[in-house]
């Protein structure tokens, strides 16, 4: 599956799509990018007069690139992509550390490496870097994937 096809299959829309580009992907890892648009509404409240990207949003960005894009790729490789209109995804666990703040307007790079993909559970080690290639956050994320048959 090509990066374009994976982006097409992502089950997100604005304002909750946190993937711009998949730079590279294979069955073991994925590398993607996202630009944090300063117009995002959460910057108005996090924090008052001092916008910083919330950790939960960084986690979400890591999960969308590191888990969901890779998971769709892996499901496609297993031939399970027929029912992609009806894909169900759930984040099952997250264990993240945050090292540096991410200001609005930053472009981040997410690198994710698969620990395992078994019985539709994908577990990955993720890292996010800022434009200066500094480590912003890292952790371990896991999610469950379910593809429903047509009309299911």
């Amino acid at each position: 599956m090509t990066p374009e096809e994976i982006l097409h299959h992502l089950p997100y829309n604005q304002p909750f799509l946190f993937v711009d580009e998949i730079v590279s992907i294979n069955s073991e890892s994925v590398h993607g990018k996202y630009w944090f648009n300063p117009e995002h509404s959460f910057y108005q409240g996090h924090f008052k007069n001092k916008p910083v990207t919330p950790g939960v949003i960084l986690t979400e960005c890591c999960a969308q690139i590191g888990l969901v894009c890779l998971g769709i790729y892996l499901l496609g490789a297993e031939g399970q992509d027929e029912g992609f209109n009806a894909i169900q995804i759930g984040l099952s666990s997250s264990d993240m550390e945050f090292l540096l703040p991410v200001p609005p307007g930053e472009t981040v790079k997410v690198v994710s490496e698969k620990e395992y993909f078994r019985f539709n559970k994908l577990k990955c080690q993720v890292k996010m870097f800022n434009a200066q290639e500094e480590l912003v956050c890292k952790g371990v994320l896991a999610g469950m994937f379910k593809t429903l048959s047509h009309g299911g």
Partner: protein, 83 residues
């Protein structure tokens, strides 16, 4: 199934119990999702630990049939006999 194998399985499962379920609750007929409150994501981790502990490999069909401790014991036994 040998008592030893049951205890080995019980020890693995007890690592994934939610805080409000004690390991005393793990009985031979306990249902993982409904009685032990283990979610499907943790059930995958239990299966992976079982594979390591018993040196066996489970397939998707095995996972589908694994609803209770008794199911798990039966599957482990079958896999061990097939080795």
């Amino acid at each position: 199934m040998k008592e030893e194998q049951f205890l080995k399985l019980k020890e693995i499962v007890s690592n994934y119990l939610p805080d409000d379920v004690s390991s005393e609750a793990i009985q031979r007929e306990s249902n993982f999702l409904e009685e032990l409150n283990i979610n499907s994501a943790n059930l995958v981790d239990i299966v992976l630990d079982v594979e390591d502990a018993f040196d066996i490999m489970l397939e998707n069909e095995d996972m589908d049939g694994m609803q209770t401790m008794a199911d798990a014991q039966r599957i482990i036994q079958t896999k061990l006999e097939a080795k």
